[in-house]
Symmetry: C2
Subunit: 705 residues, 2 copies
């Protein structure tokens, strides 16, 4: 579907309402009435063979009877009739249809068949379909002014916020909420079952829509995550994208054979995905709009240092708490700033952030404080709080904020905690689009989200590192061999060889089959060493005595080698022994886990965490979707709770974090190059002190069936 | 102050407004007008020598000039005049005063002095003071109907929610919010600087107030936590107490010498405190009132199994997410329940929780579903969601909910996500007090909070275990010795002896001073053993080679003993060596940390966590304030993120959790018995498999200066 078509569909010059009705309380009447009474600038044609006119407008039996060209059809006929109607739309040359009718895929197999048939017809005629099972669309552009929904007859005032909803119920609730709070919108699009038009087709259309400055999404799933990622990374830099993704906790992690698999729940992957896509994920519809108001008008802050200006202590404390809890920082005011404040504020004022102007502050004091604070280079944005007292003139303060704030190019959120109606003051702020809220925690939370977006916009752009030192051929051979032998896993020596081929640093190792080989390799590797049995029948080596650690000398080595094989011979006589892996025993360093899991929706998911059962029990790991950019690898290491341990906690030296980054990027490249690798655990990668590198000590690779 | 006085102050038969004013925009006018026009059932006397009358009411030059008895004075004179006015109130025999005037402790030393002087006068005359620096009080009881505040002239409708605010700004915002949402209140009390009346004096008064059924608190600090705990544990069982405590993140953890000290931030302790006190802590004013509405009318649920009934998928998913994220559970419906639902619902309905009645559900379907679901013994409460469609009659559904729900004695929250105005339907629910919200996530969150309260009310009541096998005398002797020697710490052998005296299980140990003793004790204890040097000059033993682990036999022992002493002699020749601690080396088990830290506000704080640097870096620990009840000890172990490890994670055996509980309770008793113990770390307590006990392996005790 071409973007131009979608532009026309959202800005139609003429609309046919197929299934328009004169019957009270019918959807067909509601939609037609909404278009007719919402000030639509084009022509609307009701289509229904059963009525001569509807609401005083001449009705056509079929779309084919309309004498003029029709850009868009709104379809509200029974589900079994939709296909025929779309066929007629095609004959008429209509470019798109909004199918409000329900009873398709959402009701099961029979509905899915109807939906498929409808789409076959639509494709034949190159008709774009919005829906089915949707609420409709709204375009507030004064040149269009179209409300083609069955929601309450009301069209929001034109604004800069576009809202796309996958849930009809949430779409309607969102409109209702926008009406109550008088939130101005640019577009409202209910996408329903997303049979054709979806988030990925709409994002470019909204990018090109001049009216829209921020895009809000309510998502239940993603049609094509890779495409969404590409689009949102590009579009989100100019127009912030915020999303609610529901179904956070319902899915949970499924049983999986690898550590990575066991730890990667679908919601964690969605979080990783949105982070990489530059999409701000929020929790509720209220938060979505609270943020939308600010994102539509406020510049992204340079960094996350927030100042708070208040005339009451309590709200200042609450705002401080929220700022910090939400991951932003309280700005440290420059000494000069504090001196300047001291000169203009009364002695009882608090000059440290939060700056407390005291309850008798009037507009002049607000103005001086805002100027001085916003001029401070250490302040990236401000939350301005005013609790009305007998001394405050809220409207005058609003005027001051309106006149002062825009000069500094820094974002601001405002909280008027009013005793008196704040509406008049709010209107003054609304003009230039300065967002205001009733509670300080909301003003602060929105500011924290702005800093999150600011980080994204200003982040250093890094590429995807391509390692040229990899031996792709060797991996191909290893994987081919496994495939030919019908194996779904790689034995340890092969896993090691594969990782080595991709440049991972491995603890020195060898596969030995005799005592002589064993002694020879130990000499080469150097004590202490580890022995591990290699057998396709033995998955849990430790349980059968198949692992011997910390072998210090030749005597111990021979004894361990013999004992191990004897024990296994006795415990699992049927085991086919491929040999024994002898490996350098690494002492010191910190254990980390690197993992790969192929997700059916997102593809290769990369995991990072610290080693140990504790991490697994508390799920302190981070995820990203491959390919990883340079910055992505760096960030995913830093976002686990236990990162402090790698930084050198309690006087220890810093670990070689850069080497972990490199390994993560190599793993990403491997995941992209070889889709047949289904799961991969490097557990542990022992990371040494800064500059000393890291070593893979154990690895497990599973292949696709 | 007697509770009866406070009752009279909140329900006064006559009020003098000292500092009442006829000047527009003055606080003195606002307060007087509010009382006069809010329908006060008593007599209000304006007092001001500068006016003959105010708002048409005869004014008195001084309170002493009022010819009748006065129960309560509202004071709005300048701060320096307040003392004199209170003196006059005393002479007049007034029982209490609400001092609205600001400019006391909150402005610094000078104000603090004025406040102290005022209180001296008040105490002399036995006058209770609310404030100073407060907004005033409201009592909606129709027998009283008093609005003695300077907030907007409005008195909430009588209800069951009492609100106490320490912040004036939040108090005013709360009133504003209550007005906008038409939330009915019983009492509003702004306590300001809490010079006299505070949360601890008000809780008993509100317990005895028949109108009040739920108590909401906005707190910035606590006057006396121990007293608050006692009161809230008693009162909270009958009347739920919910609180916002601000200043969550500002304090942070201060530098401290023990692990426990380093981990215990003030906010974590507040969380522990509220948990033990049975107080539900919430995050925002909105949440406070959202919960207040439900807590005032809904019965506490038996357990946390929540059913969701909806007519749209999206909101059902969102409610599910919230229920789980907030710590409640989705009820598993009985097979019989599902069969019954199948008989009455259309085939496309979802019979599993969340029960989706489908968009065309009318009131009959809601009624049947509610009955069947609420009759299920596995359902403790329900969230009922209705997204209006053309088929729904919201008012009829509201009536059905109103008529059906109260029969089952289970709590319900309702979400009407309306396209049409929901006000009429909401009114229908309001009558019997069924709480309704605009968003499903809020209805679900409130239900989750209700289950939290339900747990509290129904929890098994456990006592404080008193161990009789402790040797208090021995501990006294040890502490006395340290005191006499001017030591602020106990050396390891003394710490062990102290813990042993209180019944803690210790790994076998001995203090030895010669090689012969060392060999003898090793024989007694059994290999493997550990050696640790004991010296008052050596705090960090490991750094100077003062610890030797895993000594397997006599030869190793002698070598280690000699080497250790030689190394130390060389590194710190001035160290005074008290001996060497020989201790059984414990293998296996899980490391845990038990700690005690004396908090200046809360007293003895007990900490629990798993061992290891990772726990410290991620702060995965739990706190409670001593004395610990039996259940408290059990809960604090289970609330750390890493608890799964003790339960037997990944096929390991369960640890002896009960032994940890016992140790925590012994630590609690020790903390109460000996206030001179300032900090105590048991790090680690190695806990063995279920039934095998646990062993203290290292401990550190610091005494008060």
């Amino acid at each position: 579907m071409k973007n131009n078509d979608l532009k026309l569909i959202l800005n139609p010059r003429s609309v046919a309402v197929i299934g328009a009705s004169a019957r009270e309380d019918s959807v067909g009447r509601a939609v037609f009435a909404n278009i007719l009474f919402s000030g639509y600038k084009g022509i609307v044609y009701p289509v229904n063979p059963r009525f001569k006119s509807i609401l005083g407008v001449r009705t056509y039996p079929s779309i084919l009877d309309i004498p003029d060209e029709v850009d868009l059809a709104i379809v509200i006929v029974p589900n079994i009739t939709v296909r025929k109607v779309i066929e007629e739309c095609g004959a008429k040359g209509v470019k798109g249809a909004v199918v409000i009718t329900a009873g398709f895929r959402e009701i099961g197999a029979e509905g899915a068949r109807l939906e498929k048939e409808m789409m076959e017809v639509a494709r034949k005629y190159n008709i774009s379909i919005i829906g089915p099972n949707c609420v409709g669309i709204i375009n507030t552009d004064p040149q269009v002014s179209l409300n083609a929904t069955f929601a309450r007859p009301f069209i929001p005032r034109p604004g800069h916020i576009a809202f796309i909803s996958q849930s009809g119920a949430f779409g309607v609730a969102a409109l209702e909420y926008a009406r109550k709070r008088d939130i101005r919108l640019s577009k409202f699009i209910s996408v329903g079952n997303k049979a054709d038009v979806n988030e990925n087709t709409l994002l470019p259309a909204l990018r090109d829509d001049e009216q829209t400055k921020v895009i809000l999404l309510y998502l239940e799933d993603l049609v094509n995550p890779a495409e969404f990622m590409e689009l949102s990374r590009e579009i989100g830099e100019k127009k912030p994208i915020l999303a609610i993704k529901s179904g956070r906790t319902s899915a949970g992690a499924k049983a999986a054979s690898s550590h990575t698999g066991a730890l990667a729940g679908s919601d964690e992957i969605y979080n990783a995905f949105f982070t990489q896509a530059g999409v701000i994920r929020v929790e509720s519809l209220e938060e979505l709009f609270d943020c939308g108001l600010a994102f539509a008008t406020q510049p992204p802050p340079k960094s996350n240092r927030v100042a708070i200006i208040t005339n009451a202590g309590g709200p200042g404390i609450v705002a401080t708490d929220t700022i910090i809890r939400q991951g932003a920082r309280l700005a440290t005011l420059d000494e000069r700033t504090k001196e300047r404040l001291a000169r203009v504020l009364p002695p009882t004022a608090a000059l440290d952030n939060p700056v407390d102007l005291i309850g008798d502050a009037k507009e002049e004091r607000y103005e001086l404080a805002m100027r001085i604070v916003l001029e401070d280079d250490g302040v990236d944005g401000a939350v301005i709080i005013c609790t009305p007292t007998v001394f405050t003139n809220l409207e005058a303060i609003a005027q001051t904020i309106r006149d002062t704030v825009p000069r500094y190019g820094k974002p601001v959120t405002v909280c008027f905690m009013g005793t008196e109606d704040v509406e008049k003051a709010a209107k003054i702020l609304e003009e230039p689009g300065i967002p205001h809220y009733v509670f300080p925690e909301i003003a602060a939370k929105v500011m924290a989200r702005l800093t999150q977006y600011g980080w994204w916009v200003k982040r250093p752009l890094t590429g995807i590192k391509k390692f040229e030192d990899v031996d792709k051929k060797k991996v191909e051979v290893l994987l081919k061999k496994a495939k030919e032998e019908g194996r779904k896993f790689l034995p340890e020596p092969e896993s090691y060889a594969l990782l080595q081929a991709y440049g991972f640093p491995l603890a020195p190792f060898a596969l030995v089959k005799t005592e002589e080989e064993c002694l020879k390799e130990a000499e080469r590797i150097g004590f202490p060493v580890v022995l591990k049995v290699v057998s396709p029948q033995i998955l849990h080596k430790i349980d059968v005595g198949g692992v011997r650690l910390n072998i210090e000398n030749k005597d111990e080595l021979l004894r361990a080698y013999r004992e191990m094989l004897a024990t296994i011979e006795q415990k699992i006589p049927q085991a086919e022994i491929w040999g024994v892996l002898i490996q350098k025993m690494i002492k010191g360093g910190k254990e980390t886990i690197l993992g790969l899991k192929r997700d059916p929706l997102f593809g290769p998911v990369i995991m990072f965490g610290l080693g140990g059962v504790y991490v697994e029990a508390t799920r302190d790991v981070s995820f990203r979707i491959a390919p990883l950019r340079e910055l992505t690898a760096a960030r995913m290491i830093r976002e686990i709770r236990g990162y402090r341990i790698l930084e050198g906690f309690r006087g220890e030296e810093r670990s070689d974090v850069e080497k972990i980054e490199e390994c993560l990027k190599r793993l990403s490249q491997l995941a992209i190059d070889f889709p047949e690798i289904e799961e991969l655990d490097i557990n542990p990668l022992i990371v040494l002190n800064q500059g000393m590198g890291a070593l893979v000590v154990d690895a497990r690779i599973l292949l696709t069936a």
